[in-house]
Every structure is written in C-alpha cells, then in structure tokens.
C-alpha cells in the first residue's frame, strides 16, 4: 500500500503541531487522538500503516504513544523529526500536569476533579472503542485474525491478566500462524 501523497512533505513544524494537538487533546489517553491526527486529519499514514506501527510500539518499552511519536517523527524527519514529534507530544501535558500539581499543593484538593474525570472517562472509553473498531476494519477477514483479537481482548479486559505475559505468549503464536507457507 503506498502512503497517501500528503506524506511526501511533512516539515518539522508540521510534525510538532500534529503531535502537539494529539497530546493536548489526549485526556484519557493520547493514542486515539494520534490515530485521528495521523490517519484521518493529516493523512500522513494509511490505516494499515498506523496499526503496524502501533503493533511494533506495543513491544518496545515506554508508553506506546511516545514510541509512535518517535517512529513517525523518525520516518518523516530523521533524528530531528523524532525529537520534534516527541517534544510536541509532551509539551502541553507536561505543563498541565505541573500546573495541576501546583494547584493541588496550594489548595490541598482539586474540587470536582474526580467528578469531571468520571464523565471524561466514559467519553474516552467510547473514543478508544471506536478507534479499535476502525482499526479492526483493516484486518483480514479470517477466523485466525478474529480468534487472536478475541483472545487478546478477553485476556486483558475480562480476565485482567498482566500485559507482558499475554503479549509475549499470543504474539509468537499469531506470527507463527501468519508465517508464509512454503509452496
């Protein structure tokens, strides 16, 4: 699949602004906002490319969205692109978290914050669900893919098993199943 034409010319300034908005809107997690920015708004990546990059980033240490900023930044702008995308992603969250902490220290509590978070959490859950459904549309329609999707969901969401053993058990099995057959 060829990348959309917009991806040919991504400047450092655009990388910064793109990841800045993803970070700034990322209440309840920046991942769905990053996908929206990269795939739907700016069209720097195809849906398939985003899924592949996120899949790779899940295996790397660190928050997966931070890793996505590094991988995407590096792809369009080399080492400088990686730094710019990373700094863009974290600029506003960094400032906001320090401001919240300062308010908290000063007033000893944050009135209403739990109540606001309950509401935002419900909306964030919906946004993440919708993002997952959109990503599922790029998967091959096979019983194998559906099976591994359901296994990953059940293990993490319903059984609440820890991520690392689940990831490192399911992934090799799924990759093995997808391995090209010798003719």
């Amino acid at each position: 699949m060829t990348p959309p034409p917009a991806a040919d010319r991504v400047t450092l300034g655009e990388l910064y602004r793109g990841f800045f908005t993803a970070g700034a809107r990322g209440f309840g997690g920046a991942m769905p906002w990053a996908r929206r920015m990269l795939v739907e708004e700016r069209r720097w990546l195809t849906p398939r490319e985003f899924t592949d990059i996120l899949g790779l980033c899940n295996f790397l240490p660190g928050p997966n969205i931070v890793n996505v900023s590094i991988v995407v930044g590096a792809r369009f702008g080399g080492p400088r692109g990686a730094v710019v995308a990373f700094v863009g992603l974290l600029t506003l969250p960094f400032a906001v978290v320090l401001a919240l902490a300062a308010l908290y220290t000063r007033y000893g509590h944050m009135p209403g914050i739990d109540a606001v978070l309950r509401g935002v959490g419900a909306a964030a859950g919906g946004l993440v669900f919708a993002t997952g459904i959109k990503m599922a549309e790029t998967l091959p329609r096979t019983a194998l893919a559906a099976g591994f999707l359901v296994l990953a969901f059940v293990a993490i969401a319903l059984l609440r098993w820890p991520l690392i053993p689940v990831l490192f058990t399911l992934a090799p099995l799924s990759v093995l199943a997808a391995w090209p057959r010798r003719p």
């Binding site: 990322g26 209440f27 997690g29 991942m31 899924t51 899949g55 899940n58 295996f59 790397l60 240490p61 660190g62 928050p63 997966n64 931070v66 890793n67 991988v71 590096a74 080492p79 990686a82 992603l89 974290l90 969250p93 960094f94 906001v96 978290v97 320090l98 902490a101 914050i113 109540a115 978070l117 309950r118 509401g119 935002v120 959490g121 419900a122 909306a123 919906g126 946004l127 993440v128 669900f129 919708a130 997952g132 990503m135 998967l139 893919a145 559906a146 099976g147 591994f148 999707l149 990953a152 969901f153 993490i156 969401a157 991520l163 399911l170 992934a171 990759v175 093995l176 997808a178 090209p180």
Partner: protein, 173 residues
C-alpha cells in the same frame, strides 16, 4: 550522588523494562520512590497518580511529578527525560531496522500476526478506560454515544469530552 543524579539513574534503568508503559513498572516506581529513597510518601504517590491521570497525555507524567517534588522544575525535566530517553533511543533504532526490512516476507508475517492482537489490546483499553469509571446508565450512554459519533459522523470528539466532563462536574455521571 545528588538527588537529581540518583533520580536520573533510577528512572533510566526503569525505562528499558517498561513494556506496556508506566503501568507495568508502577510497583517498581513505588518501591524506588516511596520505600527505597522516601522521596514522596505513600499518600503523595497516590495523589500524583491521580493528577497524572487527570492531565492529558501518557500516565508516565507521574514520574514528572516525582521529579518536580524532589527538585522543582529541573527535577521534573530530568525525571521525564530519564524515563523517556532509553526507551525512545531503542524505538528510534527499532524504527530504522523495521524500515530496512520493508517488503521482507518475515516482516509482513510479523505485522500480519501482530495486527489482530494490537486491535484486541486497543478494544481492551477501551473497556478498561470505561471500567475505570463504573457508572450507571448515564456513563454507558456517554460511552455508546461517543463510540457512535466517532464512527459515523465527522464531529470532533473533543466536544463530547467537554460535554461529558460537564455532566460529571454536575454530578450526573
């Protein structure tokens, strides 16, 4: 070693084992900052976790707050850089390797194998984010409405977040 140096050294070591983000090393961060160095108390650690979750962006910002508590703004910058630099360097390297093998059959197999698991994990995250707010029918309505709006309309979901936050503030969620 100065507190800033210790902070950097500790967080850089944790960075490389944080597969899945800060959640997976949270017990270890707690052990280091609360029990081993007593930089923050147990109660402060819990507050920082809540504040980091309230801010946009990754939960990793908890580490930023620990740095801020230990040494002000320089501490916040050093802690954030320390927890990110090693894992980011690894990601940069991995991106290069990945790009070099574009088109290789094994890379296509790896991507085909990882894709359904990646999507399963995203859906599981949605479930857990929602479950973090075990609400009544108002919460479920907001979740369902947001899902539908994002899937079927071009409305920016930011407005749903504002609306949902407002409903929460009014005590309705």
């Amino acid at each position: 070693m100065s507190p800033l140096g210790t902070l950097a050294a500790r967080f850089m070591m944790l960075s490389l084992v944080a597969v899945g983000g800060v959640q997976s090393i949270l017990p270890e961060v707690h052990r280091v900052v609360v029990e081993m160095h007593q930089w923050v108390t147990d109660a402060e650690f819990t507050q920082m976790f809540v504040i980091a979750r309230a801010a946009p962006g990754p939960n990793m910002l908890l580490v930023t707050l620990v740095g801020w508590h230990v040494a002000g703004l320089p501490g916040a910058l050093v802690a954030t850089a320390a927890v990110c630099a090693p894992s980011c360097a690894l990601s940069y390297f991995a991106a290069g390797v990945w790009q070099r093998f574009r088109g290789a059959p094994w890379r296509r197999a790896v991507e085909a194998g990882l894709a359904p698991i990646t999507v399963g994990l995203v859906l599981a995250t949605g479930w857990l984010v929602m479950g973090g707010a075990p609400g009544g029918w108002v919460a479920y309505t907001i979740t369902g409405l947001t899902t539908a709006v994002v899937l079927f309309t071009r409305i920016n979901p930011v407005w749903l977040f504002v609306l949902a936050g407002g409903l929460g503030l009014l005590g309705l969620v």
